[in-house]
């Protein structure tokens, strides 16, 4: 019998960890600013340059890490419940391939080309939008492929997700052979994921998606619990199985598409975090909420590591999450009770 701490204790612990990580994220940067100046700047006091660095660069970046990490983990938790498959991750249903195609098509069309030397593709609002459209298009194709007689079929959902991602890779390779190499480099950077494109606008947009998805997913927690028994038995317990599946599908896709649009393809957060959280709770309400917090902590910490390991050079945060995530995942698998 393992001693099971109640879920709220984990919630408090994760919240504490998140605040500490956020603080670290705000204090670290290419310009060194004293901790108390950072705190004063947050409140709008101090010299204008410092205020601008803290409130327009560091704060949006830290908050974007919270939202993207949280969104990916929440999306993964919802998809694992929907598919009844602990291997599901947010990119399974074509989101990554679709977003990549959207981004590449966008950049080949010249969107974001005027953004200057250092900015790459992130400073343009047009490219996140193109990525978002690409992701939604892919998700839509997957959804159509997986519908049979008005029902969303779990097995087909998985298969058509794999197929659409494969199709997207083929289109990518095709397009890349036309693209000029300098664009290819920024594209590869995008593929690895980065939070460098954080703007207050991106934070606001993602907040809306996250709030909307939480509002859709949390009332489904009981349905997800019952779906552990299988769809048929869940239906006999009074669960609206099709409604629950469709809602989860839409919310999980929106979350992943929005996260990818602003931060590129950051791996492992959506797979690792729900897995880890399942170790401490089996109730889906706690699972969804703790996944969000856990994903936020993981990505803020990863971003701090990505920025400070070889400062002032910055490593792609997706490389850090994979470097941290893959061994952690293997450890979780080995330690499975």
């Amino acid at each position: 019998m393992n001693s099971r701490r109640p879920a709220w204790v984990w919630g408090v612990l994760l919240l504490g960890a998140l605040l500490a990580a956020l603080l670290a994220s705000l204090l670290l940067g290419s310009v060194s600013i004293a901790p108390h100046d950072v705190l004063r700047a947050l409140l709008g006091r101090g010299d204008a340059g410092t205020v601008s660095i803290v409130r327009e660069l560091r704060l949006p970046r830290a908050l974007l890490a919270v939202l993207v990490g949280g969104a990916l983990a929440l999306s993964g938790a919802a998809l694992q419940a929907l598919l009844g498959n602990p291997l599901a991750d947010p990119y399974l249903l074509g989101v990554s391939g679709g977003a990549a195609c959207g981004t590449l098509v966008g950049s080949l069309l010249g969107l974001g080309a005027s953004a200057g030397m250092r900015a790459g593709i992130f400073d343009a609002l047009a490219l996140p939008f193109a990525a978002f459209l690409g992701a939604l298009a892919a998700v839509l194709v997957v959804g159509i492929g997986a519908s049979a007689g008005g029902r969303l079929d779990r097995g087909r959902l998985l298969l058509s997700g794999v197929v659409v991602n494969a199709l997207a890779s083929a289109i990518l390779l095709f397009l890349l052979s036309f693209g000029d190499p300098s664009r290819t480099q920024t594209f590869v950077f995008w593929m690895l994921g980065s939070l460098a494109g954080a703007t207050p606008g991106a934070v606001a947009a993602l907040s809306v998606y996250v709030a909307l998805s939480l509002a859709l997913l949390l009332p489904l927690a009981r349905a997800f619990d019952a779906l552990t028994l299988g769809e048929e038995t869940a239906a006999t317990l009074g669960i609206r199985v099709e409604t629950a599946k469709r809602t989860a599908y839409v919310a999980a896709s929106l979350l992943a598409a929005a996260a990818v649009a602003y931060a590129g393809i950051i791996g492992f957060v959506g797979l690792l975090v729900p897995h880890a959280v399942r170790r401490v709770t089996r109730s889906h309400r706690a699972l969804l909420l703790l996944s969000f917090l856990g994903g936020a902590v993981l990505l803020v910490v990863s971003d701090v590591v990505a920025r400070s390991l070889f400062a002032p050079a910055e490593i792609a945060v997706g490389a850090i999450t994979a470097l941290l995530g893959a061994p952690a995942f293997l450890f979780l698998l080995r330690a499975r009770p």
């Binding site: 028994l229 299988g230 048929e232 006999t236 669960i239 309400r285 009770p337």
Partner: protein, 261 residues
């Protein structure tokens, strides 16, 4: 209150094929009914159609006199308890948590389980002699132990109608009788119990009535004294059957080698 369950001209199936057809039978309150038949005879499909999982293609299922599709979802979920055949948990889950899922129709969307929920879960675990597994993960259990937990999940919902697909599967003799007792108790308190089985002793010891299914249609139906007969059973299964009077007026069935039908 009694909630009789009835099928009228019921047909249901998958793809182009009707797995069951022309099923008309009243599953009376206060009775335990065994569904008997070969593999693929339509026992599971009939249970699923009665539970509302597989829609009726023709005919109707009536629950308490009302057509089943017209009964509000939650009300139907409280009245009907369904045990599927074979189950692999998708995620690790503790026995107690799984049994608590049986309380779903009684719970609100948010909020912790009530004292009433916990009582029902404990009672169901005890009735299935599974209290000692309450804090064990389902994946760490034997097939029979798991089966008792799954049955406890159905009982915890306190349904008046029980639809059980092979409830005695994988159980040792003592626990098989535990399940028979549980079914009989539900019938004695006015519930209707329908279960499928391949074990003729479970049918003869547990059931009041039997419905013999062959090729998706009713071959015979009625009290076990009239349906668990040598001629009907040997017709149904293609084996030689020997029926002798047993204790308490229940027939003792033994079966012999396969024979031509």
């Amino acid at each position: 209150m009694t909630v009789p369950l009835g099928a009228e001209g019921l047909a249901a199936g998958y793809g182009a094929h009707d797995a069951i057809a022309e099923i008309t039978h009243m599953f009376a309150a206060g009775r335990v009914t065994a569904l008997l038949g070969e593999n693929g005879a339509g026992k599971s499909t009939l249970l699923k159609a009665l539970a509302g999982i597989v829609p009726a293609r023709r005919g109707t299922v009536r629950l308490g006199g009302r057509p089943l599709p017209g009964v509000p979802r939650r009300e139907a979920a409280r009245m009907l308890g369904y045990l599927p055949q074979g189950f692999e948990p998708l995620f690790p889950i503790l026995a107690r948590d799984l049994v608590l899922l049986g309380r779903t129709p009684w719970r609100t969307a948010f909020g912790a389980p009530s004292a009433r929920d916990h009582l029902a879960v404990d009672a169901a675990l005890t009735e299935m002699d599974a209290g000692m597994f309450a804090e064990t993960d389902l994946g760490a259990m034997s097939g029979g132990e798991r089966q008792r937990i799954l049955l406890a999940r159905v009982l915890a919902g306190e349904p008046e109608v029980l639809l059980l697909d092979e409830p005695a599967a994988n159980l040792d003799p003592r626990h098989r009788f535990l399940v028979i007792d549980a079914m009989r108790r539900r019938a004695e308190s006015g519930g209707a119990v329908v279960f499928s089985t391949h074990e003729l002793d479970v049918a003869s010891q547990g059931a009041d009535d039997a419905v013999l299914l062959s090729g998706g249609r009713v071959l015979a139906a009625g009290p076990i004294a009239d349906t668990l007969t040598e001629s009907l059973l040997s017709d149904l299964f293609g084996v030689s059957a020997c029926v002798t009077p047993g204790a308490g007026g229940r027939p003792l069935v033994s079966i012999g080698p396969a024979r031509a039908r």
